[in-house]
C-alpha cells in the first residue's frame, strides 16, 4: 500500500514536472519567434549570392569551389562596355603567334566565347553559358587588356542558394555577398 502510494506520488510529480517543462518550452518558442520576427527582412523573402564585379579579381576559384558539378558562376558580357576589338584579350591567349581560332590560341578552355564579325574592324563576342564553367580566364584577360566587358556573375537560375556559399568562404577579395532581390544581378552595362 505504502509503495503504491509512493509510485502514485512519483507519477504525479513526474507529470507535474513534464507540464512545467512543456510550459517553459512553449514560452521559449513564443518568445524566440517574437524576437526573431522583429529581425526579419520585411520586403524580401529571400536574398541571393552575387559577385561584385568591381571587387572580383578573376582568381578562378568560382569554377572549382562551387558545390554544383558545374559552377553556377558564369561569365557575362556587357556589350555596351565592349570595344568589339579584333584582338580581344578575353578571346585570344596573351602571346599567340597566329590570330586564328585554333583551340590553342583561344583563352576559353571550353570554347564558350562565340565570335561574330559585325563590320570592319569590329567583332561581336557572346558567351554560350551552357559551355561556360566560370573559370574567369576570359574575364581576367579582358580586364587586363581591354574594357572589362567580360565579368563574372552568379547565374541565379543555377545557384542553389546555399546557406553558406562555399565560394564566398574562399573568395580572396570578398566580392561575393548576399544581396537583396532587387540587386540579384550586378550588370555592368546598366
Amino acid at each position: 500500500m505504502q509503495t503504491k502510494e509512493n509510485t502514485n506520488r512519483h507519477i504525479a510529480r513526474r507529470k507535474f514536472l513534464r507540464t512545467c517543462g512543456g510550459i517553459v518550452a512553449g514560452g521559449v518558442i513564443v518568445s524566440l519567434s517574437g524576437v526573431l520576427l522583429k529581425k526579419t527582412v520585411s520586403h524580401d523573402l529571400q536574398t541571393f549570392w552575387q559577385i561584385d564585379p568591381a571587387k572580383c579579381v578573376w582568381c578562378g576559384r568560382c569554377e572549382t569551389e562551387c558545390v554544383l558539378p558545374v559552377s553556377a558562376v558564369k561569365c557575362m558580357h556587357a556589350n555596351k562596355v565592349c570595344g568589339y576589338c579584333d584582338l580581344c584579350g578575353g578571346y585570344y591567349r596573351p602571346n599567340v603567334k597566329d590570330l586564328n581560332t585554333a583551340a590553342e590560341n583561344l583563352m576559353c578552355p571550353t570554347g564558350a566565347i562565340l565570335r561574330k564579325f559585325v563590320e570592319e574592324p569590329y567583332f561581336e563576342y557572346t558567351i554560350d553559358e551552357e559551355l561556360c564553367t566560370g573559370c574567369a580566364k576570359c574575364a581576367k584577360g579582358c580586364n587586363s587588356f581591354g574594357n572589362g566587358s567580360l565579368y563574372m556573375q552568379v547565374n541565379q537560375d543555377l545557384c542553389t542558394n546555399c546557406n553558406e556559399c562555399s565560394i564566398e568562404k574562399v573568395c580572396p577579395s570578398g566580392a561575393i555577398t548576399r544581396v537583396a532581390q532587387a540587386n540579384a544581378y550586378d550588370f555592368k552595362d546598366n
Binding site: A25, L32, L36, T40, V67, M76, E164, S173
Partner: protein, 421 residues
C-alpha cells in the same frame, strides 16, 4: 600567359579605377543592334510558399499517422515525398538543421536580418515537436527519410557506446553556434553529409562522409539523426515534454519485447527492476553531490576549450588571411587583394587579435556547455528508475511508426480481445 601574370599585380594595385575605357565604344555603320540579354531573377515566392506548406502538411500527416492511425505506411510515403521534393527537387536548401545557425547569428548580431522562410523552417518543427513529438524527424526531414528508407537491419549499438555517441549532437550544436556567432563558418552546412547525394555531386570528403553514414544506416538505425544531428538534439528537448506522444498500445501491454526489437533508434526502454535499494533522502543527497561536482566538469571542459581557442579562431576568414600573410607574405593572392583594396597589415593584425580574444571568451562558454552536456549525461546514467512496463523514450523516439505493426495487442481486432477476456 606570362604577360598576364606580369600585368595582374599592377591592376590589383589600382583596383578602384580598373580601366573601363581602354578602347572607345565603336561607331557601327551597319546599323548593328546591341544584343539584349534577359536574366530573370527566379521568383522564390512560389517555391518558398510551397516549401512551407509542404513542411506543415507533411508534419501534420506524420502526426496523424503516428498518433491517431498508428500505422507506418503514410510515414513511408511522406519520406519518399520529402526525399523527392525537399531533397532532389529543392536540393536540400533551406533546411531546418542549418537554420539553427542563422537563428544564432540573428540573435547575436543586430545587423543580421533573418529571412522569414528560414525562421519558419526553424520554428515550425519545434512547435510540432512540442505538440506531437519528433514528427519532423520521422520523414519530413529528407536526411531522416533517406536513412529511414535505406535501413534493412537493426544491429544494436552497445548502450555504453550509444551513450557516449549520444553526446555528439550537443557538442556539434555548441560548436556550430560558436562558429556561427563569431561569423566564422556554418559548419553544419559545410559538413552536411547527404546534400551531395541530393545535388548529385559535391566535394570528395562530402560524398565519402555521406556514403559512410548511409552504409551505416543500412545496418543500424539513423546514425546521423542519433549521433550527429544538432537540430535533433534541440527537438529532443521539446519532444520530451510534448503534449501528445507516441503510445505503442492502447490496451494492456503483454511485455512481449517485440516493440523494443522493432525500434531501431533504441527509444523503447524495457521493464526494469532496480535492485539497488536506496532511500529517497540518500538518493537526493547523491544527486546534490553530483550537481556540486557538475561545475567542476564544466570548468575543466571550459579551460580545455579555452586553451584551444586560437586553433578554433583559425577557421575565421580574417585570421586565415593573417596566417597567409605570415606564411606566404604578399605573394598570396588573398593578401595581394587585401592590400590592393586599401587594407593595412597592422589593421589586420589588430583585427585578428580582436577575433582571437572574442574566440577566447566564446570558447570558454562553449567549453562550459560541453562540460554541462557530459555532466548531465553522467548524472543521467546514475539515475536508475524501476519500470513495470515498456516505456517510450520521448526524447529519442522519432515517430517512425515501426513499433505499431509489431505489437500483437495492436493487431488484434476488438472482438478477439473481447473473447480472450
Amino acid at each position: 600567359m606570362k604577360k598576364t601574370a606580369g600585368l595582374i599585380p599592377c591592376l590589383l594595385a589600382s583596383m578602384a579605377g580598373f580601366a573601363q575605357n581602354r578602347f572607345p565604344k565603336p561607331d557601327f555603320e551597319s546599323g548593328y543592334q546591341y544584343p539584349q540579354y534577359v536574366y530573370d531573377v527566379p521568383s522564390e515566392m512560389l517555391w518558398t510558399t510551397v516549401d512551407i506548406f509542404a513542411l506543415a502538411v507533411l508534419m501534420g500527416v506524420v502526426a496523424w499517422a503516428s498518433l491517431r492511425r498508428r500505422t507506418r505506411l503514410p510515414i513511408t510515403i511522406v519520406s519518399i515525398i520529402s526525399i523527392a521534393y525537399f531533397g532532389f527537387f529543392r536540393k536540400g536548401c533551406i533546411c531546418s538543421i542549418g537554420s539553427v545557425q542563422n537563428v544564432a547569428v540573428a540573435l547575436t548580431d543586430s545587423s543580421y536580418a533573418i529571412s522569414i522562410p528560414i525562421l519558419i523552417f526553424f520554428v515550425l518543427p519545434l512547435v510540432f515537436a512540442l505538440l506531437f513529438g519528433r514528427v519532423f524527424c520521422a520523414g519530413v526531414c529528407p536526411f531522416g527519410a533517406l536513412q529511414e528508407l535505406v535501413n534493412v537491419r537493426n544491429f544494436r549499438i552497445p548502450t555504453a557506446l550509444s551513450k557516449v555517441l549520444g553526446m555528439l549532437p550537443w557538442i556539434y550544436l555548441v560548436l556550430a553556434l560558436l562558429f556561427a556567432i563569431t561569423h566564422s563558418a556554418f559548419i553544419i552546412c559545410r559538413f552536411d553529409p547527404f546534400v551531395g547525394i541530393f545535388r548529385l555531386g559535391g566535394t570528395v570528403s562530402m560524398i565519402v562522409f555521406g556514403a559512410i553514414l548511409l552504409i551505416l544506416a543500412i545496418f543500424t538505425g539513423r546514425p546521423f539523426c542519433r549521433f550527429l544531428c544538432p537540430y535533433g538534439a534541440i527537438l529532443s528537448l521539446f519532444s520530451r515534454v510534448a503534449v501528445w506522444n507516441v503510445k505503442i498500445v492502447k490496451k494492456q501491454c503483454i511485455n512481449c519485447d517485440l516493440c523494443r526489437h522493432a525500434c531501431y533508434v533504441d527509444a523503447i526502454r524495457p521493464p526494469y527492476n532496480n535492485k539497488v535499494k536506496e532511500s529517497r533522502s540518500a538518493g537526493v543527497r547523491r544527486i546534490l553531490l553530483y550537481l556540486i561536482l557538475l561545475p567542476l566538469i564544466m570548468t575543466i571542459a571550459a579551460l580545455t576549450l579555452r586553451t584551444g581557442s586560437d586553433l578554433l579562431a583559425g577557421v575565421h576568414k580574417r585570421v586565415q588571411l593573417h596566417e597567409k600573410y605570415h606564411l606566404e607574405g604578399e605573394q598570396a593572392i588573398e593578401v595581394e587583394t587585401f592590400i590592393g583594396q586599401g587594407g593595412k597589415i597592422e589593421e589586420l593584425t589588430a583585427e585578428t587579435a580582436e577575433i582571437q580574444r572574442q574566440f577566447k571568451q566564446y570558447s570558454t562558454v562553449a567549453g562550459a556547455l560541453i562540460g554541462l552536456v557530459i555532466g548531465i549525461t553522467l548524472i543521467n546514467l546514475s539515475l536508475k528508475r524501476s519500470r513495470k512496463n515498456y516505456e517510450i523514450d520521448d526524447a529519442n523516439c522519432v515517430s517512425c511508426g515501426r513499433c505499431f505493426a509489431y505489437c500483437p495487442q495492436n493487431n488484434k481486432s476488438s472482438e478477439n480481445t473481447q473473447s480472450t477476456k
